[in-house]
C-alpha cells in the first residue's frame, strides 16, 4: 500500500512494510514448501549522511532512483500481483526473494562476499582507488568488526602476561580510534559519511592483521620489525586516498596524522608483545 497521500514514508520503512506484506502474501500463495531464490548481492545501502559530499554525487544521489531499477536490489521487490507501491518490477524469475526466509547460508555467503569485495576495493590496488565515493559504496561493519576482534585476539595470544589487558587495550584503541578519527575529519570541516569512514578504517586494518599473525608465528625481533613496517605502510597506503580527499588540501596533514598515529601505535603493540 502506498501511503503517499499522507506524510511520505522513508524508503526503508516503506520497504519494511512491503517486505512484511510480501511475506504474508507468500505464505498464503505458496505454502510452506517453497524455497525462495537467493538474493543477489545487495546494492548501495542508505548511508547515514552527516554532511553532503560534493565529490561523491554517485554515492548519495542514486538512492532514490535505484528503487526503480528492475533487478531486486533492495530487500523489497514488489509483487506483480498485489498493489505495487513503488513500481519495482520483479526480475521475472518467479516469486520475489525475502531476506527473512532465505537460508542462513545465503545470508552468510552474501555478507562474506560483501566483505571480500570491500576488502578488494580498499586494500588491494584497483583502478577505482582515487574516487572515494566508489571505494566503499556498499559499506558494512561486519568486516571491520572481524578484523578488530581478530587483531585483539592475536595480540592477546602473543602476550605472555596480562593477556586480557592487551586485548582490552587493542580493542579500545582501535574502536575508539576509528570513531575519533572520523570525528576529527568532521571537525576539521571535512566531508565524509560517518559509518563509511568507520568501515574504511576497519578494512584498512587487514594488513596489520596479517602482520600480527606472522609475528605470532615467528619470534625474531628484527623480522617482526620488518613485517610490521611493511604492513603498516600497506595500511597507510590503503587509508590515504580516502582521508586526504575528505578534507581541504590545506588541512590534509592534520587529518592524516592521527591515522598514522593509530596504525603506528598498533604496530608498536604488535612488535612489543611477546
Amino acid at each position: 500500500m502506498s501511503y503517499g497521500g499522507a506524510a511520505p514514508l522513508h524508503q526503508s520503512s516503506q520497504s519494511d512494510i512491503d517486505e512484511i506484506e510480501n511475506l504474508i502474501n507468500d505464505s498464503v500463495r505458496f505454502g510452506p514448501a517453497t524455497i525462495l531464490p537467493a538474493r543477489p548481492p545487495s546494492s548501495p545501502r542508505a548511508s547515514i549522511p552527516v554532511s553532503s559530499s560534493p565529490f561523491v554525487p554517485s554515492a548519495l544521489h542514486p538512492l532514490p532512483s535505484s528503487n526503480k531499477k528492475p533487478l531486486p536490489h533492495f530487500a523489497v521487490p514488489s509483487f506483480s500481483a498485489g498493489p505495487s507501491p513503488q513500481g519495482i518490477a520483479t526480475d521475472g524469475l518467479g516469486p520475489p526473494t525475502n531476506t527473512l526466509t532465505e537460508p542462513i547460508w545465503d545470508t552468510v555467503k552474501r555478507d562474506l562476499t560483501r566483505i571480500a569485495t570491500n576488502l578488494r576495493l580498499v586494500v588491494f590496488p584497483n583502478p577505482n582507488r582515487e574516487d572515494p565515493g566508489k571505494a566503499l559504496r556498499d559499506w558494512d561493519l561486519w568486516g571491520p568488526f572481524f578484523f578488530i576482534v581478530f587483531l585483539g585476539l592475536v595480540l592477546s595470544w602473543s602476550a605472555s602476561v596480562k593477556k586480557s589487558e592487551v586485548f582490552a587495550v587493542a580493542f579500545a584503541v582501535l574502536a575508539a580510534g576509528a570513531i575519533i578519527l572520523t570525528l576529527n575529519v568532521l571537525l576539521l570541516g571535512g566531508h565524509i559519511i560517518f559509518f563509511q569512514s568507520l568501515s574504511l578504517l576497519g578494512y584498512c586494518l587487514f594488513p596489520l592483521d596479517i602482520g600480527a599473525l606472522i609475528c605470532l608465528l615467528g619470534s625474531n625481533v628484527i623480522i617482526k620489525m620488518m613485517v610490521v613496517l611493511v604492513t603498516f605502510s600497506w595500511s597507510s597506503w590503503a587509508a590515504y586516498p580516502f582521508m586526504s580527499t575528505a578534507v581541504s588540501s590545506r588541512r590534509k596533514a592534520l587529518a592524516l596524522y592521527p591515522v598514522f598515529l593509530m596504525y603506528i601505535s598498533i604496530g608498536c603493540l604488535i612488535i612489543a608483545v611477546d
Binding site: V50, A159, S160, V161, K162, E165, V166, V169, L183, N184, L186, L187, L188, G189, R250, R251, K252, A253, L254, Y257, P258, L261, I264, S265, C268, L269, A272, V273, D274
Partner: protein, 263 residues
C-alpha cells in the same frame, strides 16, 4: 505610592526601555557587544560580563553553539590549517615568542587533543623501550615483558593533567576577578606539552645522568612557557602565586614522567 517607586534611583538599570537607550549609548564604547543584548542586566558595567567577552572572538563561537551533541558547535575550535598548527608548535618550544597573542583570535583544540594523545602513546611505547634497555644494560638476566598498563597510566595522567589543570586555573582566575577563557587556557596548556614529545624520544638513552639533564631542561622550558603565557594572559593583576604554582605543577609533571615511565 507611585511616587515612592519612581524616586528609587533604578532607571539606569532598565535595559529594554527605550528611554534608557540614549543613556546606554554613551557607555556603549565599553560594552558595545552587550548593549544590544537585552539579556545583560544591568547593561552598565556592573561587573558582570559574559565569559571571555574581552576577547571578542568568543562571541561568534558562543553564538554558534548548537548543543553538546552537534558537531557544528565544536567546529569553530578546529578552524586551523597545517601551517598554523606547525607555527604554534614551534612557538611553544621557544618560550620567548608571544603565544597568547597568536591564539587570541583563533584558539584551537586540535593541538591539545592530538599532542596529548601522541604523548600518551609515546610515553607508553618509549617508556617500555627505555625500561627494556636499562634492564638489559644493568641486569641482563632478568626477564622483561611488555607492560601494557603503561598505556593506562599514561592516558590517565596526561589526559587528566591537560583537562583538569586548565579548568582549575579557570575557576581560580574567575574567583580572583580576572576574565579567563577556558578554551584559551586549554589551548595553551595543551601546546605546552608539545616539548615533551621530542624529549621523550631522547629519554630512551639508557644513561641515567643524560636522562635527568634532558628532563630538567624540558621541564624548565615547558614551565617557563606556561608561566610567561599565563602572566601575559592575566595582564596586570598581581597573581604571582598562581603563576608560580602553574610553573611548579608543570615541573612536577616533567619529573613524574621521568620517574614513572623512564625508570
Amino acid at each position: 505610592m507611585e511616587e515612592g517607586y519612581t524616586s528609587l534611583p533604578t532607571s539606569h538599570l532598565l535595559g529594554s526601555v527605550p528611554a534608557a537607550v540614549a543613556e546606554e549609548s554613551t557607555k556603549g564604547a565599553a560594552s558595545e557587544s552587550s548593549s544590544a543584548n537585552l539579556q545583560i542586566f544591568p547593561p552598565a558595567n556592573g561587573g558582570y560580563q559574559a565569559p571571555g567577552s574581552p576577547y571578542g572572538g568568543d562571541d561568534q563561537a558562543a553564538n554558534s553553539w548548537r548543543g553538546v551533541c552537534s558537531i557544528s558547535s565544536y567546529t569553530p575550535y578546529f578552524n586551523v590549517d597545517t601551517d598554523i598548527v606547525v607555527g604554534r608548535f614551534i612557538s611553544s618550544v621557544y618560550p620567548m615568542n608571544d603565544f597568547t597573542g597568536k591564539i587570541d583570535v583563533n584558539p584551537d583544540l586540535y593541538g591539545p587533543i592530538w599532542i596529548s594523545t601522541t604523548l600518551v602513546f609515546m610515553l607508553a611505547a618509549l617508556g617500555n623501550c627505555a625500561t627494556y634497555l636499562m634492564r638489559k644494560r644493568n641486569e641482563p638476566d632478568t626477564m622483561w615483558t611488555f607492560d601494557v598498563t603503561y598505556v593506562n597510566w599514561a592516558a590517565c595522567i596526561i589526559y587528566g593533567y591537560a583537562l583538569a589543570v586548565p579548568v582549575a586555573f579557570y575557576f581560580l582566575l574567575r574567583y580572583f576577578g580576572c576574565n579567563a577563557s577556558l578554551i584559551r587556557l586549554w589551548c595553551m596548556w595543551g601546546y605546552s606539552l608539545f616539548i615533551f614529545v621530542p624529549s621523550s624520544l631522547l629519554l630512551i638513552a639508557p644513561v641515567e645522568i643524560f636522562r635527568w639533564i634532558i628532563i630538567i631542561l624540558a621541564g624548565a622550558a615547558s614551565s617557563w612557557f606556561v608561566a610567561l603565557n599565563l602572566k601575559s594572559y592575566i595582564e596586570g593583576s598581581d597573581l604571582m602565586v598562581l603563576i608560580v604554582s602553574a610553573l611548579l605543577l608543570q615541573f612536577v609533571l616533567a619529573l613524574f614522567i621521568k620517574i614513572f615511565f623512564f625508570v
